[in-house]
């Protein structure tokens, strides 16, 4: 390449590092806090929170009712809320109705309960196609729904974050709330997968 250095935009890796240095020098951030923040979002603010919400709703009918009436308040009961979790609306998947969530604008996502969005959720292909052909997209992701199941696609925004309450799989009636938690995956709470019995 003969492009002069001054005309090239530095790589994002270098720009990220430059930004971190400049912000650190101005005492606007502490790199150690950045470290712990990344860890916090990667591990603690993860889908485990959402799985606890789902398992409680499966085993406590009154909690399930509250969750479907006011997701934000019911989720807060368990101690989960955050900058992006103020307005969470929960929709319930059943044998005849299936809900799936997308953010067509960017990547709005209920972080406090589901952690960071997966890369496919941010992919332009998923964002545009799931609205137009949800049944096909879900099948490609491994979820074949019968023709008589009605599919509803919910578009998350900064005002409303959708969370799917997946269907409790048959054969798990004897399991306790604690035993149900590990069965609930992130993808089932976005609506692109079903919870499987162990």
């Amino acid at each position: 390449m003969t492009t002069r250095e001054s005309e090239e935009r530095p790589s994002p890796a270098l720009r990220a590092e430059a930004l971190e240095q400049l912000l650190t020098e101005r005492k606007l951030i502490d790199p150690k806090v950045v470290d712990s923040m990344i860890t916090e979002y990667e591990t603690n603010v993860g889908p485990l929170n959402g799985a606890k919400v789902v398992a409680k709703a499966w085993t406590d009918p009154q909690y399930r009712r509250r969750l479907l009436e006011d997701g934000t308040a019911a989720i807060k009961e368990l101690g989960f809320s955050g900058p992006q979790g103020e307005h969470i609306v929960v929709v319930e998947n059943t044998a005849t109705t299936h809900h799936v969530v997308v953010c067509t604008l960017c990547s709005c996502y209920p972080w406090p309960v589901l952690g960071l969005p997966p890369s496919w959720y941010k992919d332009p292909a998923y964002r545009s196609r799931v609205v137009k052909e949800p049944r096909t997209v879900l099948a490609e992701m491994g979820l074949d729904l019968p023709e008589d199941v009605q599919i509803t696609v919910h578009d998350s925004t900064s005002e409303v974050r959708w969370l799917v309450l997946p269907e409790r799989p048959p054969g798990t009636e004897h399991l306790s709330e604690e035993r149900l938690v590990p069965l609930v995956t992130r993808d089932t709470m976005v609506g692109v997968a079903k919870v499987e019995a162990p």
Binding site: P12, E20, V33, M37, I38, C106, S119
Partner: protein
């Protein structure tokens, strides 16, 4: 598109059901900078969100997109836009520092944080 999750085995529990979220270390740094600044009250979330939406929309409208889609590239650009708009720093400053970093000798990146001089 992701592969369907394993119904059992190590991939099943929620703690491990996530795929790799950050493709490269800088993406996690870019993420960390934004949440750290946000939690410190440096900007309101809608400000950053609007900048991110604008960056992504601009990329999608660009004819003959040359580079592959990089979500965190837009994320980083949105952070720059917010900080420049606030007058916290200038784009030229960031570019100049990035060029200084680019001139480091090979092998510099065996540690994550190196501050010049």
């Amino acid at each position: 598109m992701t592969a369907p999750l394993d119904p059992d085995g190590p991939a099943a529990p929620p703690r491990t059901n996530g795929e790799l979220i950050f493709a490269e270390p800088w993406e996690s740094r870019a993420f960390g900078l934004v949440v750290t600044l946000f939690e410190a009250g440096a900007f309101a979330w809608p400000q950053f969100q609007a900048a991110l939406i604008a960056r992504i929309a601009a990329w999608e409208k660009r004819p003959g997109r040359d580079a592959a889609y990089s979500y965190y590239d837009h994320w980083l650009g949105a952070l720059e836009d917010v900080l420049v708009h606030q007058g916290t720093l200038s784009m030229d400053e960031v570019t100049a520092r990035a060029r200084t970093l680019a001139r480091r000798p090979r092998g510099h990146d065996h540690t994550t944080h190196i501050h010049p001089e």
